[in-house]
């Protein structure tokens, strides 16, 4: 019950006019970037980060996480009304959402999407409230070897479980780790890989890279496509909302199942997209007549939206408790925390109790306020898409440049952003995943420090990573995950060789 009283204290910190109005601003901005083509959660948070540099950390993180919730809500609007998924995890929402809009049931579909998003996040926040403190206090026992093992596990799970070609994931990850190492070596103070350029002494800033990789490259990709849109206008009436809500208890199995899938996949890195598809497919499989899916079933909206939001929210759990982001946006929020000198990880729960619980409380409030805002303002946001892209694109470019410049007041960073924009564009087109790169860039220095500190402690003996049962089991799990694709291939091969012998 300690969690509950701390949570109440968190609410007390939040409920001031200033914080509440920042929440509203954050949510509106979030829905805005979620609806706009060529922007989404991670870009929106990265670009708007400079706005928060002068705020105190609590207000800033509350505003940023509200931008994130808003973007998650906003993605559903374009999926349902325009058949354009704002984010990869909204793809499954279009399957049944758009047909519903075509049948004139756009309001029902939107209400269903927003409500299930809310339910998914709510379950995930409950999980964070009661599980994160436990994990954090357990992780307080971690030393450098344990931390390195956990980072190693994160990297390995990306390589082993990712759907992209393995060498491409490895390239993306090592490139991120290398760029993170540019500049001053944090342990010996030596300069590395700067080649005498003074601008590189500071290192490659994580946020500059993210703004380029996601913001600029997304503009380039959007320009490549046709820009014509066709969609439905919708206003949500209270009567429709109540009608959908009244039917809600009937779908409790779907909602519960999707929430569970989402929470589980969100904690493991890179899960939101998989979660939404899995939620959708399972709902379809367990249904009595699966052939009606894809033609405007309301469960087809409930299932993926609940799962996507549950996973998007629970991705923040490992970030808060261990300092390991579960998604791209969580990685950017982590980058933000470091800008304010807060070091995410188990110590955060001890040293900055107020801050952590205010953030968790803001997740509850943000989702409730967000639900009300999106339900009432859908018509306005849908009409944003009427604004020609030729007007929106340069404004996004300017916002990206402002964001990149403001982080370190350096013109060099604006050029770097442009370079990363081109890199991101090319990488996306040749299928090199960007998520491992982002993760490696943000965790690079911490994982290297953990590695070198444990090496110093153990006198250079690699066996330190198997020196006790805790660190040993994490390291072993990491190696298993890394070799998983290889092992499954060998088993498959062996199976094929053995089968003819048996018959």
């Amino acid at each position: 019950m300690e969690a509950l009283s701390l949570l109440l204290h968190g609410f007390a910190v939040l409920i001031t006019w200033k914080t509440l109005s920042l929440m509203m601003v954050g949510l509106l901005l979030g829905v805005f970037v979620g609806v706009l083509p060529g922007l989404g959660g991670p870009n929106g948070v990265a670009i708007l980060l400079p706005l928060t540099f002068t705020m105190d950390p609590t207000a800033a993180i509350v505003m940023l996480s509200c931008i994130y919730w808003g973007a998650l809500f906003g993605g559903a609007i374009t999926s349902i009304l325009f058949n354009i998924p704002g984010e990869a995890w909204s793809v499954a929402t279009t399957f049944d959402g758009y047909p519903m809009a075509q049948q004139g049931k756009a309001a029902e579909a939107l209400t269903a999407a927003f409500t299930s998003s809310f339910i998914g996040s709510f379950v995930a926040v409950l999980l964070i409230t009661f599980v994160a403190p436990g994990i954090a206090s357990f992780a307080l026992r971690f030393g450098p070897p344990e931390f390195f093992a956990v980072y190693f596990l994160t990297f390995c799970s990306f390589v082993g479980l990712g759907r992209e070609a393995k060498h491409k994931t490895i390239i993306s990850m090592t490139l991120g780790l290398l760029l993170a190492a540019v500049g001053m070596d944090t342990i010996s103070g030596q300069l590395r890989m700067t080649f005498g350029f003074t601008d590189l002494f500071r290192g490659v800033n994580f946020l500059v890279a993210v703004i380029g990789l996601f913001g600029i490259s997304e503009i380039l990709l959007t320009m490549e496509e046709r820009l014509a849109l066709r969609g439905h206008a919708a206003a949500i009436k209270l009567r429709v909302v109540l009608k959908v809500w009244k039917e809600l208890p009937r779908y409790w199995v779907t909602l519960l199942r999707s929430s569970a899938i989402g929470c589980w996949l969100g904690i493991t890195p890179g899960g939101a997209i998989a979660a939404s598809f899995m939620g959708y497919n399972l709902a379809k499989q367990f249904d009595k007549n699966p052939s009606t899916f894809g033609k405007g079933r309301i469960e087809g909206v409930f299932a993926p939206e609940t799962a996507a939001h549950a996973s998007g929210t629970s991705a923040l759990l490992p970030m808060l408790a261990l300092g390991i982001p579960g998604s791209g946006t969580a990685a950017i929020l982590l980058g933000g925390l470091m800008v304010w000198g807060l070091n995410p990880g188990p110590l955060l729960f001890v040293e900055h109790k107020d801050f952590v619980w205010a953030v968790i409380a803001s997740m509850y409030l943000g989702n409730i306020v967000g639900l009300v805002i999106v339900l009432t303002t859908v018509p306005i946001f849908a009409s944003i898409l009427r604004v020609p892209f030729a007007a929106v694109a340069p404004m996004i470019v300017v916002s990206c440049a402002i964001g990149a410049y403001a982080i370190q007041n350096a013109m060099f960073d604006v050029w770097l952003m442009l370079l990363f924009g081109v890199v991101g564009y090319v990488f996306k087109k040749i299928g090199v995943p960007l998520a491992p790169f982002t993760l490696a860039l943000v965790l690079g220095n911490r994982s290297e420090d953990a590695f070198r500190l444990s090496m110093i402690g153990a006198g250079g003996d690699l066996r330190v990573f198997w020196s006790n049962s805790l660190v040993g089991s994490i390291s072993t799990l990491a190696v298993i995950l890394l070799l998983w694709p290889l092992a499954s291939k060998i088993f498959e091969h062996a199976g094929r060789l053995l089968r003819p012998a048996k018959t």
Binding site: H167, L177, R230, A390, I402, I430
Partner: protein
């Protein structure tokens, strides 16, 4: 069931050709990327070798981890290049068509010029020029609309960042004229 017609329709003002010749194939671009990555791995690897990649008395030297990362990066790229040349060279799709490439340049070149202009004119004047120029020449939106929109946008950015949030941006001669 009643089927409602789309109510929001946005047409693309730029004429589209469906069949435009490919500029290059994905395989070629991928190969170039691998070669560049191998060069990068060699250059960075050499730098780390120079700054010490071995073990000192107090543990690994500062070049230790990056050096081996370069080795991994180089080998993964080499593997990718080999795999590409042997197995997937033929039958890979189009990277960009000429039409698409032209559109990408339409946004990339103005962005490049914008970054360049920011150094001399300050970010607000440069963004006014970028938004107005882009709306007029790429979007073919009427002059007055373009100018008014971009003026309001640049002013709003100035008020938000420089006045309300105290985030300092590069400024040029125009801002100096007004005493900022």
């Amino acid at each position: 069931m009643p089927t409602s017609d789309p109510e929001i329709v946005v047409e693309d003002p730029r004429e589209q050709e469906d069949r435009s010749p490919a500029v290059t194939t994905t395989a070629k671009v991928e190969a170039v990327v691998y070669v560049l990555l191998i060069v990068l791995a060699l250059v960075l690897g050499y730098d780390n070798y120079r700054s010490g990649m071995g073990w000192a008395k107090d543990g690994p030297q500062s070049g230790y981890m990056p050096f081996y990362l370069c080795v991994i990066l180089g080998s993964a790229s080499l593997f990718g290049l080999g795999h590409l040349l042997l197995k997937r060279w033929h039958g890979s799709g189009t990277f960009v068509t000429r039409d698409q490439f032209r559109r990408v340049l339409q946004v990339f070149i103005p962005t490049f010029l914008f970054c360049f202009a920011t150094q001399w004119l300050g970010i607000y004047v440069a963004s006014f020029l970028l938004v107005a120029g882009f709306m007029r020449f790429v979007g073919r939106i009427a002059w007055w609309k373009s100018l008014v929109t971009s003026f309001i946008f640049a002013l709003a950015m100035f008020v938000t960042f420089d006045i309300a949030f105290d985030v300092l941006m590069p400024k040029g001669p125009l801002e100096a004229l007004f005493g900022y």
